[in-house]
Amino acid sequence: MKSGAAARPGAWAALLLVAFSIALAAVPAGAEEAAKETVYRNFPLIGSRLVVWAVAQLHLNFAAFILGVPVFAVIIEVVGWRTRDAKYDWLAHEFVKLVFAAFSTTALLGALLLFLFVGFYPKFWAFMTNIFFTTYWIYALLFFAETFTVYLWYYGWAWLSGPRKWIHVGLGVLSNLFGITILFIANSWLTFMMSPSGITEAGQLKGGVWAAVANPTWMPLNVHRLIANLVFGGTIAAAYAAFRFLNAKTDEERALYDWMGYIGNFVALSAFMVLPFAGYWLGREIYAFNQTMGITMMGGFMSWLWIIQAILIGVLFLGSNYYLWLGMERIPGSERYRKYVPYMLALLSLGFMVWATPHSLILTLDEARAMGGTHHPFLGFFGVMSAKNTAVNLMILTTFLSYVLYRRANRLSLKPWVLTGMAVQWAAFAVAAGIVVFYGVYGYFVESIVRIGFSVYQVGAVLGAIALVMTIDIPMFKGARSTGAIRWGQIPARSQYVLILLAVTFTWLMGLMGFARSGIRQYWHVYGVLRDTSVDAVTPALGYAANIITLVTIGFFALVMFIFWLGGLPEKGAAMEGGHGHAPVPVIAGGSDESS
């Protein structure tokens, strides 16, 4: 009889053999399982793409708001601090109050978006994590830093006033620095998806993560989004003020929110005028990174998207100008400038029509025969970039002129060189317009590769004119004689609906541009590297996209209204107790000599 000890090795061997056999038998399942690696999961009913789309758009809307508003809020606070004008401090506090209310919703939506990616796009998320893991830590830490800074900034408004105001302003600056860095990090992820760099053909980092972060479209998008956030923050804040104006019970309240709406719109308009230039830069970098992507964006299945964009931007230009013209009605002395309004309106309308002219039309054979081709024999000339660039640059110049006239509406310069100054200003407008038109026409006679370069001269001329005119305008009207105080609060109610229209339009435009940025990748999660093999790999048509954008924008405004209502509850409580919020409400009704 064998001893137990001797029998044990045999038993172990038999056990191992059985285990090996079981393992071998299990291998086929292993091969099958390997083939079924979870790449996607499906969200019930509406599908994964739609839920990610909706949450991403909502998150971006809120994020743009909470990153855009603090930029100008801190500037306004500095103005109030240096000029010792309490109304600016109140306004800055009002703006930060809106940000504060929207802060947690932004974070919640961001967390939800993360869960959706991890759960429904696991392979994609693993791929991105392999490359960007380092940045996740930085992002999270910065988010903590920004949260605490904004909380301190908001709650410390009264505590850090007086001699400690500089600390408070410093907190505002710091929260902006954190916020902008967060924006740049998030931008690196999504621009990498458009224009990947710093990786091998096998999708692994070649060196450090910086090469992937600093991809070709990163910095142009950073600049574009930063400016767009300012516009967005301005329009939403202006719409909030408009709503408060329309519901105001007293003249004082109306004056206050009229002024707040004006400042919000002023911020939005100032940033909006330079936004197209940032857009040019981004577009040029997309072309430089990959011609196919650039051509798909502008000349492929997305070409009609730019017609819709032109209409939206046309509405924004016309709306902004109309608001300024209505605003002039409450400024004594502005009568002398109102005669220019019909001409400016004509120029804007003409520019709008040119910009919205499609290059080629999709027609039936009979229609094409009747027209002599897919290009209209006359209007077809206006559907090309030469005409469109000319139109948009002239619209920017016109809008700037509207602002300049508004700015000096109740002021008479006392400077001895005023005539020379004005002559130089008008000459700057004329020269810029001349350069824009010259290169617009010349563009028809050169190759496309040469024509693309002309837009730089056109943009340069417009920006140069803006810089020169303002450089002269500021000293020229310093200490100017007033022709009467601005009658804040006495603007027609329809002007406030214009502010709401601008906010809705810009929010919708952001959704459309998000679709464009994402859609140009077509069936790639990461362009040319990680292919979208899901059932949603098809990029939808514009009608479907527009319906989704509308639904999400409705959702955004519903949330915004709810959050702002929540944010206003303490104020209501304080009012019922006979007090106010953190900063005293200034009295603006009765007039102000300032126009901005």
Binding site: P28, A31, E32, G300, E447, Y497, T539, L542, N547, I554
Partner: protein, 268 residues
Amino acid sequence: MQIPVGVKVVALALATMGAYSWFANSIPQIESKPPQDLSLEGNVPPAQLVKAGEAIFHTKGSCETCHKIGEKGMRAPDLGGVGARSGKRKPGMSAKQYLIESLLQPAAYVVEGYPPIMPEVDKPPIGLNRSELWAMVAFLESLGGTVDVTLDDIPATAGAAAGGGGGGGAAAAVKMPGDVNAGKTVFTGKAVCGACHTINGVSQGKVGPDLTQIAKIQAPDYIMKKVLDPAGMGTVSGFPAGVMPKDFGARLTAKEYTDLVAFLLTLK
């Protein structure tokens, strides 16, 4: 009765967004669908090749974004008559050689008056595979010339990086650890592949495509996935869909699968 401000504001917002949506729905609705991968094997008649190439021209190749046929393009030359013209472009280079070079190394010769913007079409994002390049050249040759391109004319390395599976394309040459002879036995035995596929000297099935040169035509990544997920990898042009069994992943052991793939990769 006065309409409350909130109602007016909501109505304005909804009307504005509704108008934008309405306009977006009233213009031409164009979807961008992901292209289907094409796989051509064995002796493909020129007519079928040209037809397949024309389909690629309009879809996966994205060629017509810049090129027109019979019309001068703004960004790229007219391809009308290119089959006849390309034999005269570069001295000592035949039409098919020129066309292949134009597709794989477009910067080697740029037609005067046009910018050098054409991408290498066998690389992502377009990423044509060898079969598709073959068909594309045949289609271009058919535009005024004679279709004489064969699969052997397309470089073996072309299309190797066409994938986009999160790791770029499959490597041009993959050495499988499996046993080639054992794989041949699996092919003719347990997997019964020979009942449907022809391999010269091994089997003579006619239901599916000829696999005699499959490793020359297709990337290893495609072959490996095709065995496990035949429907997911598309059906070869000219053959019925849904015939190839979907359960090889369950029926074969890991070793048998590895051996089978190792054998298929020797078929060049």
